[in-house]
Amino acid sequence: MKEHYQHLYEILSQVDGYIYPNEIEMNWGLMIVLYPYITGLVAGAFILASLERVFNVKVLRPTYHLALLTALSFLFVATLPLVSHLTQPLHAYRILITPNPTSAMAIFGFVYLWYLMVVLLLEIWFDYRRDFVLWSKDSKGFKKFFYKTITLGINDTDEKSVKIDDKLGYIITLIGIPSAFLLHGYVGFIFGSIKANPWWSTVLMPVIFLFSAMVSGIALVMVIYMIVNWVRRQAIDMVCLDTIAKYLFYILIIAFALESLDQIHRFYEAEESFDIIKILVNGKLNLTLLGFQITIGTIIPLAVLGLFQVYQPSEKLRKIAYFIVGLFVLFGIFFMRWNVVMGGQMFSKSFSGFTTYKINIFGMEGTLMATAWLVLPILILMFLLWLMPPWKKSTEYLH
């Protein structure tokens, strides 16, 4: 407690202008930055997968299962930062048993469960069921036990059964696309619906969140695909990689256009809150917004990917460029979330001053914890890739 007060006194000494006295403490920290970030990666990775499945972009086949497993790994972790930031984390279940229907936050649990249970788990199950049956025959120990259990006793492996699996999987993906849109658009609405906060309150917020989610998810799968192939010493399918990069380019353009539109609109209308937002953007958010999000996360990737649409350098150079661009985009989108969450709390609702955010290393809201939440899905993904490697899937009766 004493340490907490000391921390707040330190912030109090750095307050700039006038803020309401209860605003010294910033209520949403790193964990709430991670929450839309991770959820966005899930939605984006899934949408990339569905491009192959529903929109029949066959060249993306090499990343299809990888994208699904990536989405699942991150989805497992998505709620954890959210729950750990609660002051009463043990009571989190109340959101599910007594949701307040007027609350934009209350429905998240249901959207999440729907997405996890109905969309991702079912789709992956239909995709892997036949392989589980085949793998269960020639594996031992934990793997055998897992494969046998997860087949849920449905052991037929003939062409007809594969066709049924495929058809049902397709239907699930069809449901999955609007669900992915819902999942992340909805996260945007949590912020966009707060009329008290002019930095958040914009009707474009859900759409901006959705497109930035797609951007980050596609970049993530692109980077993971390259790493997995390097580790496995397999050749990277350049047609696939170029196609992913092309989609990344297009969607990045849309995302950037939407965000610019939002800012231009704000700038042009110049409402009551404009003065404070102008100072915010040019001051406290200068580095993270103009430097990290826009320059590193958007302009440079757009320039590189745009160039590759008209001029293609050697494969080796493209691979390196794609890898760096992917990391830049992931870095930029992280700071996009940061700028939304932190930016919205740095200025006072009195529009007359600023507080600061002091980042901690330790503690529930600290950088160590945040790193753990970002590493955990990678570990889960590694485990899933070991357990159900897409490259060992049978290609017989492929749809």
Partner: protein, 255 residues
Amino acid sequence: MDRINKNRRKFFQTSAALVGGTVFYSLIKPFEAKAVEANQTELDPELPLWGMGVDIEKCIGCGKCAEACKVENKVPAEPFYFRTWVEQYTIKKDGEVKIESPNGAIGGLEQSVENEDIFKSFNVPKLCNHCTKAPCVQACPVGATYVSPDGVVLVDESYCIGCRYCIQACPYGARYIHPEKQVVDKCTFCYHRINEGLLPACVEVCPTEARIFGDLRDKSSKLVKFMQKNPTQVLKPHLNTHSRVFYNGLSSEVK
């Protein structure tokens, strides 16, 4: 083959039933909660409708209200937690607006601007506005914050999960996380006192009667008389929160 197909069909039936059941339950559940919530938020016309008037011209910035509130409601003494506070506005001759509220005005506000530079100065007591259309009540994911039948926005401490969405939703900065209880805390109009027929602590101690508490339904109450006599305004009216704290003499500089 036949047996396998039967198994398969059975599996789909079971999973469809499970999934369908879950989805159906999740769809039904919010409506149940809505019914509960409606009970909580419906104002009872038989009961008083509590509100407060603030006469800005009368406030001398002594901070006794903020101090009394902290004592009465066991609000932590540290200067980061306030159920009510007083802001000092100083409009300088060059047009610059200076706002201050050191320690929420506890101990009294002092003017830091030289007299000859001051165009005008006034003090504005702030507290929860007990909005009729409270954004915090709308935002709370578990319904832990609600409007009482007599129009006071309250928090069920035993039910708050500490997500702090209500703090983000409140346009007036009236909420904070209580550092010891680890749940959200805010002004209750001293609900424990008004139920006993007493005045809220801040109103009770105000030496200049700058705060007027009363029943908005009672046309002979002090509050209604105050509103009849003076042109009153609420804070941030454009947000349409229908707040029940009415200010007389509110300057456009006040946010």
